[in-house]
Amino acid sequence: MNRLSLASELARHTFLEQWRSRYFQLMVIFGAALVYASLLLGQLAVEQEGRVLFNSGALFLELAALGAMLLGCASSILRDMESKTIYLILSRPVPRWIYITGNYLGMAAAVGAAILCMGALHYLLLAFKGAAPSAEAYLLVMLAAWLKAAVAGALAVLVSLVSTSLLSAVMIAVFFWTLGHFVPEASFLAQRLQGPAGWLAKPLLWVIPNMSLFNYRETLDLPPGAFPGWGIALPYALLYICACLLFSVWLFRKREF
């Protein structure tokens, strides 16, 4: 079995495992319920029901995808270690980088499928209310939500290898995800900081993922050119995910089982 098929086999396994996992199913059902519940919020906005339905549904979809991705990525390696499954895998000719990459790709694919399911429900609701954007724009909204989750998931894999528990790994990843929406403000503050505080703050900014690059849903009504562009968002996500996975592989290679 060559390395590519090994990685795809691992990814397929993770994908199926996630879809059978109760946590994952619960997260997707909860996300879909939230998307549906956004109808209530829309009612309050009277004449702006469509806008509120779109904004709240897109956010709930993104949060559900993020929750599923973070839980899955942070728990997958820890769970394999606790259940000793990892011995079964690594005792075979499976390189460690393939184990990490395959696991991650499977998770990303499972979350992508979950986003498609929740997005289909949301789009149907929007169409029913006569407030659906073009299908192309909505697909891009889902792509952006998936990229955000994918970046946060790669970070969760890395953090799970240095953290002692699932909870702390998830919390740290959520912390970075949140900070990621404040990167421009944090950069502004870091430039103003003097002395040791400034020296510490500036390198930290190079670690935080710039999540506003993926906020496509916030730019739909903005004048053309407001969104930084997929030419930046896609390579940025790819490079950031590569960085996290390379660090993860490096840490994982040093682990002894």
């Binding site: 009277v46 702006q48 806008r51 904004n55 956010l59 404040f182 990167v183 506003s212 906020n215 950031y240």
Partner: protein, 245 residues
Amino acid sequence: MKPASTAWLLPAGALACLLAAQFMAEGKRLPYPGVSESRTFAGSGMRDAGFLAFGARRLGADTAFIELLQYYASHENHDEDPNAGFYVYGLAPKPEWKMEGGDYPEFMARAKRVLWLDPYFRFAVFYAAGALAFNQNRPQEALEILDIGRKWLPKEWKYDLLAAAITYSKGQESARQAAELDRVIEDPDAPDMLRQLTAFLNKKSGNYRRAYEIYGTLLDSSNAGYAANAAAQRKILKPLIDKAS
């Protein structure tokens, strides 16, 4: 020695990827007002920060706008009755709410909060400016709201039309005011409040047919009050149109 030398390739590669990614994203941000320009309203700071942390400015603006609507829909003297807490359920006297006009001193601050969160929220700009100028007789503040909207959407010419209509309202020039507003309400984002006002001004200046048409668009309004009023006005206007023709 070989494994030791290649072991550093991984973190070096990771660092290179990270630096390349961050270098690429340097200075990239969405064109929204900065945190330093914050217009949070009393007690709303944490909520607004929460929306920002979730990257959900638009939903934050929606929530702030719903709060503005609720504030504007509340009766100005709703807390004036000192015995309010002591009535047996069902026996409270019928309140005498002040239904027209009102000061709504927080209206401007609340509207600015909405526009700080999302200055591209055109409906909110139209609504706030219209309510301030035509319902609360605060044209200067209405023009200020339009200025905020224009700063972020300088090509939005309907803001200029609304500003012109506000200026004409000072001089009681109903016909000119109606003409300007007529072009504003072509926008799907124009609030029904402005449609109702345009219909009223057209009726006032004798343009019954146009008033009748505009009231017709209000029959499907999500606001039951506007829809009922539109139906009633159409009944009044129909014989006037027939008589004129």
